[in-house]
Symmetry: C2
Subunit: 221 residues, 2 copies
């Protein structure tokens, strides 16, 4: 390799229920799909909010991407950058590449907001007095998206036939429903997520994500 390896950031420690869901998984998976080795710089809950990290990521989050002086944040933008500069995640035909990219946006802007709202109900606002009363509204919105997506996927293996960056992101987003039981009501989507997650590149990415965590929480946690 003449170029220096890309460096991504990931958390040194997270609670068990967050493991597998941090967004560095998306970037690791993309790098594995295109066969690009990478390095990881681990950060913690304090350093991620410090000024030095915020130069890379203004919202104090992970992942970030750095290579040879080039820096990028936002998992969606990093995914598209990797997909466009290496082969394996986007068709060569520009119209087909645009179709794949629209699924990255569909995953992150049409599906994920509904799933994140259910995350508020089930996790982040679970102790609030309104959590139980709000859940049906939130579940209904998620089901609306799943219904539409299930119909569009039909019996295809992937959203545009062949696996693309769009499937990578959609599988990560739908994995956010893990533990809710909702996906089981849409068997083709359930099988689709399993199909995506059975890819060797994903297995390697998940293993590396999990292996990088410290086993014990920091003192401040």
């Amino acid at each position: 390799m003449s170029e220096p390896l890309p460096v991504i950031t990931a958390f040194r420690w997270v609670p068990d229920f967050v493991k597998g869901h941090v967004r560095d998984v998306r970037v690791r998976w993309a790098l594995e799909e295109v066969g690009q080795p990478y390095q990881v710089r681990l950060v913690d809950g304090v350093s991620v909010k410090a000024a030095e990290h915020r130069c890379l990521q203004p919202f104090g989050q992970v992942p970030t991407y750095e290579q040879d002086g080039f820096t990028l944040f936002e998992s969606g933008a990093i995914l598209l950058h990797i997909a466009r500069t290496r082969s394996g995640l986007l068709p060569a035909d520009p119209a087909k590449a645009a179709a794949a990219e629209q699924w990255v946006f569909a995953a992150m802007t049409s599906v994920e907001p509904a799933i994140m709202d259910l995350g508020l109900v089930n996790v982040f606002e679970a102790d609030q007095p309104w959590a139980e009363a709000r859940r049906p509204l939130s579940v209904k919105r998620v089901r609306g998206r799943l219904e539409d997506l299930s119909k569009r996927l039909g019996d295809k293996p992937y959203l545009e036939g062949e696996f693309t960056a769009g499937d990578l992101m959609m599988a990560c987003v739908l994995h956010g429903l893990d533990g809710t039981g909702l996906l089981a009501d849409y068997p083709n989507l359930d099988a689709y997520v399993a199909r995506c997650r059975s890819r060797p590149a994903f297995r390697r990415a998940l293993a590396a994500h999990l292996a990088d965590f410290d086993q014990t929480p920091p003192l401040a946690a």
Copy 2:
């Protein structure tokens, strides 16, 4: 023109409080910035959910984009497609173009979900018994994003110095705070949104968006 004009979809009628906020504004603005004439096909609340439209947009929404047999949905994907195939919205340098695109994702995936949640509180769940109690949590999340974004923008006119597709999307997303008074607490962001919206291309796009609405609601509304 040898190529047929692109055709986008927009709503024939929406309630007054939604005018200016429908996502076809984003696509019209992009087309105006690059100097690309376009045609509009108006749809209504029934036809947008019908099978024919869902072939173009699986979630039954607007806008869609069609040109010479090529079709695309998701305002973010349409924006990037326009920006990449015409000049005026992305720098020619690939690293700078990627930096601009990361702001499209930052707007839609880091900022907009918080603003949409406040929209639930203030509009779509305003009549629910928990609305008042939830508002402080939702406002706090929006303020967190605005604080970070305000610091990153600093005294620059645009997020990466020159106006890009990232500013177009961020200005549209921040406009979602209209009526909440929150933006006024971040004077540089407030001025930034006004700066973006004062661009002649935006003024033309907004005027066309507003002119296309029927003045009277359909019988079913």
